[in-house]
């Protein structure tokens, strides 16, 4: 009895630590005062103001476009890479996996400056394209890492069995392998999407030409303090991601992504 009470308390504490900041942010997005120190009544004005601020609207646009395209492209490349890596010889797979983990462990600042120098070297003007390439680059390893375990769970001979029963290699991939590993692919996609939304350091060094993501806009606001409109925007983003996750988890007949 006591043991289970303790368990619940522990769980409760974990959730409080995880969600208290988000709840605070949501509550203050309705605060009538600019200050984050005290409550001065309910208002929706920050939600209305937000859409009139050209800088915020433009950053939101770039953030979503970049995150969406980067996540889609990284998921495609990462999934095929994972399938390739899965069927490699064991020693070679070890080497490739280490190379895959390296960018994940590498500090963002190194990746950011490295990419910037590379773009300068190949004479690619910093802007939308370079930012997108950078985001795809840092998302790919995460897709590989989320897809590989699903491949390991496959019955080893599924591939041969499908070929044996007359499927072409292409059909085998699309009709047999991909459906089996789809929870891993979805996880990889969502992970890429959120990582891309989050990133500041790499984005800062690889963007140019007036293209700014939300995280750059928010970080650079430190000189004069974060605007309350950002609370409103964050609340909307949080709600959107929550709805997205619920929809994905409610898909009939699909495995639960969150529990994977």
């Amino acid at each position: 009895m006591i043991k289970s009470g303790l368990k619940k308390l522990y769980m409760g504490l974990v959730f409080i630590f995880l969600y208290a900041p988000i709840v605070t942010l949501i509550v203050f997005s309705f605060n009538d005062s600019k200050s984050r120190a005290k409550w001065e009544g309910f208002t929706l004005k920050w939600y209305a103001n937000m859409f009139h601020d050209p800088v915020i609207v433009k950053s939101l646009y770039y953030t979503l476009i970049i995150a969406l395209i980067a996540a889609i492209v990284a998921t495609l490349i990462g999934t095929f890479a994972a399938i390739g890596i899965h069927y490699m010889k064991k020693w070679f797979r070890g080497i490739v996996m280490n190379i895959t983990y390296l960018p994940v462990l590498n500090p963002d600042i190194v990746t950011g400056i490295g990419l910037m120098l590379l773009f300068i070297l190949i004479n690619l003007k910093l802007g939308f394209e370079s930012l997108l390439l950078a985001h795809i680059t840092f998302c790919i390893p995460y897709v590989i890492i989320s897809v590989l375990p699903k491949l390991k769970q496959l019955t080893p001979n599924t591939f041969e069995a499908a070929l044996d029963l007359g499927a072409t290699p292409f059909q085998t991939i699309w009709k047999v392998i991909v459906p089996e590993i789809s929870p891993g692919i979805v996880t990889g996609f969502l992970l890429s999407f959120t990582l891309s939304l989050d990133d500041f350091v790499i984005s800062y060094f690889t963007t140019g030409n007036g293209v700014q993501t939300l995280s750059i806009t928010i970080y650079t606001m430190t000189k004069r303090g974060i605007k309350p409109e950002i609370n409103a925007l964050s609340t909307i983003l949080f709600a959107a991601i929550l709805v997205l996750l619920i929809l994905i988890n409610r898909r009939p007949g699909k495995n639960n992504v969150l529990l994977d």
Binding site: K34, S35, R36, A37, K38, H52, D53, P54, V55, I65, I69, I72, V73, I113, M116, L117, F119, I120, K125, L126, F128, E129, W174, Y204, F205, T207, G208, N209, G210, Q212, I216, T217, Y219, T220, M221, T222, K223, R224, G225, K227
Partner: protein, 347 residues
């Protein structure tokens, strides 16, 4: 299968649309690099409308981050708006272009107090954008006597309620100014003397803090602290008992100023931008939105009288006369001041 095809096609479409936009750009574009949230909301749109020049507006969060990106040469910036000491550094590294003041006619509106400042003595490279001071932020409930001198930071009544800045140059300002010295003095003896004063003060100082000062002042954990006016303005918004003052002995003045780096592709358009930002009606809108002090007298006159007459934002001419801009002391002297700073911290 169809869905995937659709995805691939839509990606291709986005790229095509993106490329199209690029190829259509035949108008002049200007790359402007400024602090985040540091320009009026309509200002850029107005400039674009008036001149037909397209502005690519980018933001940075610190002078150092700006410097790294500028130095990499990745983007050809046309206009930068860094702080005073960074401009001095850029000038000494020969990274700025000389301005042609014939193209910046509105320079005449810049108040004479803000011309020929130490970081750019001949006004060859920069035009001031916003300015402010270093002063004392204090809690009017905890400090009931009038605050007008750095002296109060040595008052034992406020033992353990005083926060100094965790920065060499800033923390020595009160001592040097009380001695009636320049904050840029090259006299080692004066620094020794100032160190003695600060060592005597250390017993009643709560701490030498950086960013946490704001939270402590809002939470009323301290009565007095030294702070920059821009930061003080933000802090005062969150606790109505706080007030800011520039002591009568004078202080440090800081500037953010517009300049053109050597990488600029469109010097004429860049000068047009600087000229536009210096025009009184635009400078007014800008100052009204940002809330910092504007160096344009005509623009200041358009502000709410309450702000114009607020000594926190616009200190009197007598006090301003005592204020100085930090200038680079050179490697040898900087090392010496750091040594003194360490002596203070270890005291």
């Amino acid at each position: 299968m169809k869905k995937i095809l659709l995805l691939v096609l839509s990606i291709a479409l986005v790229f095509l649309v993106g490329c199209n936009k690029d190829s259509k750009e035949e108008t002049v574009t200007l790359n402007v690099f400024n602090w985040g949230d540091y320009i009026g909301e309509e200002t850029i749109a107005k400039f674009e409308e008036e001149t037909g020049i397209k502005v690519n507006y980018e933001m940075f969060d610190s002078n150092e981050a700006m410097y790294t990106k500028l130095k990499s040469g990745a983007v050809d910036y046309d206009v930068l708006i860094p702080s005073d000491y960074m401009i001095e550094k850029l000038i000494s590294e020969d990274m700025l272009l000389e301005l042609d003041m014939n193209n910046i006619d509105n320079f005449k509106y810049v108040d004479d107090t803000f011309k020929g400042l130490a970081y750019d003595p001949d006004n060859k490279y920069s035009v001031a954008y916003m300015w402010g001071t270093l002063g004392i932020l204090y809690n009017t409930e905890m400090v009931t006597e009038p605050v007008d001198s750095w002296n109060i930071l040595w008052d034992e009544k406020y033992a353990d309620s005083i926060i100094m800045k965790d920065s060499v140059r800033d923390s020595f300002v009160p001592a040097l100014k009380l001695m009636g010295e320049s904050i840029n003095t090259m006299d080692e003896g004066k620094w020794e003397e100032a160190l003695k004063m600060l060592q005597a003060q250390k017993a009643i100082v709560q701490g030498y803090a950086a960013d946490e000062v704001r939270d402590k002042m809002i939470g009323e954990e301290a009565a007095l602290s030294i702070m920059y006016s821009g930061e003080a303005l933000l802090t005062m918004e969150e606790n109505e008992n706080l007030a800011y003052v520039v002591p009568k002995e004078g202080s440090n003045m800081w500037f953010d100023a517009m300049c053109i780096p050597k990488t600029a592709k469109n010097k004429a358009a860049a000068e047009q931008f600087i000229n536009f930002m210096t025009r009184p009606d635009i400078a007014f809108e800008n100052a009204d939105y940002i809330g910092y002090s504007t160096p344009i007298t005509e623009a200041k006159k358009m502000l709410d009288p309450e702000i114009q007459n607020d000594p926190a934002a616009y200190p009197s001419a007598d006090i301003l006369e005592q204020c100085e801009v930090f200038i680079d002391l050179g490697q040898k002297m900087t090392d010496f001041t750091l040594e003194k700073w360490n002596e203070l911290k270890a005291y």
